[in-house]
């Protein structure tokens, strides 16, 4: 193919891309015309994929940013609704709350349309030492597929946290286990008994200052095995 014809084809394709299809249709040579049409189709295809990829990357970047700041956004929303209950120290990965209004916040988190945390995935207890216990809640939304972590600190002297067992039914056994191991009282729980250990066990085993009882129904509970027979 001569250079003239190539030049002609590229000019015609450019005109066609701007909407002037006659530029191609008016080419008299049949072979050149069909080549120009093929070049047009190719040009259209590459343009489409370029546009799509640029749009996608914009969306995903926005999503990542939203996900990174999601916990903080939720924290702000809670702060607007319940200004008293946000703890002073905060982290971008979780939300630190005070125990007082926890039941109302939980109800609101579940019922709010844009948050809709309908699933409590886990509730863990922790002994942070220095007389502070912590209860952590991992919430997930089946509708919006987002999740947050909520942490509530209480002191050993008064380990009271409102129970969310009536909000998420699964919290029933979670809270019983946390109560069993750490002795955190979940106020308002309808059936707060020990779940793993026997009912008449003494002490809270996973606390840092736990000491085993001497005997259990006449059976020796050895603290150190040495010298014990």
């Amino acid at each position: 193919m001569s250079e003239d014809k190539e030049k002609m084809i590229s000019e015609a394709v450019e005109k066609a891309l701007q909407g002037d299809m006659d530029a191609i249709n008016n080419i008299e040579d049949r072979i050149t015309r069909s080549k120009a049409k093929a070049a047009l189709a190719k040009a259209k295809r590459t343009r489409k994929t370029e546009e799509a990829s640029s749009e996608e990357s914009e969306i995903s970047e926005a999503k990542v940013e939203e996900k990174l700041n999601f916990s903080q956004n939720v924290c702000k929303k809670i702060a607007e609704k319940f200004p008293e209950s946000i703890d002073k120290e905060q982290n971008k990965d979780w939300i630190q709350l005070k125990p007082e209004n926890w039941l109302e916040i939980a109800k609101w988190l579940k019922s709010n349309e844009s948050l809709y945390f309908d699933s409590l995935q886990c509730n863990t207890g922790l002994d942070l030492g220095e007389g502070i216990l912590e209860s952590r809640y991992n919430l997930h939304s089946m509708k919006h597929l987002h999740k947050i972590e909520i942490r509530i600190k209480v002191s050993v002297e008064k380990p009271d946290i409102p129970s969310v067992e009536e909000v998420w039914r699964v919290a029933d056994w979670f809270e019983r286990e946390t109560y069993d191991m750490f002795g955190i009282n979940f106020i308002g729980h309808r059936d707060l008994r020990r779940i793993l250990l026997p009912d008449d066990w003494e002490g809270w085993p996973l606390r840092k200052d736990y000491e085993e009882q001497e005997t259990y129904h006449g059976i020796v509970v050895p603290k150190v095995k040495e010298g014990w027979e």
Binding site: L197, P205, Y210, E212, I219, V224
Partner: protein, 163 residues
Amino acid sequence: MGILENKFDDNIIVEKLDKLLSWSRSTSPWFFQFGLACCAIEMMAAAASRHDLMRIGIIPRSSPRQADVMIVAGTVTMKMALRVKKLYEQMANPKYVVAMGSCATSGGPYWQHGYHVLKGVDIVIPVDVYVPGCPPRPEALIEGLLRLQEQILEERPLTRKTG
């Protein structure tokens, strides 16, 4: 052990009857079927077709009233210890106990730091045979049960003087 104990003097008939009794006991020690932890899987495997405990006359029973041998298969927690004791007391004489696995013999991996685990089931009930292992293979359990059968064979239920 039982109402016949200490009721007879030594003579040739009682001697032979003794042997018959202990032989019949040793060839059908039915075991009480309950498992506490992973050892129970090996106990089930021992009772299933590949190892087939029934060929030495041992079959699982679901009630302590019908069982002669209690195989304590697994970790005995403090909560369970009281129940194990109660089940042992419900079994009819003569009764034997096999402690299977390291948890039931000594507390096993919970030896030092398990506040909730009984350090050996022999603290609450008398044990006749200890089977070590974590968990022991079915062959080991069968070995233990064969040892138990030997023990039962040596017993003289009618002429044995106790206390």
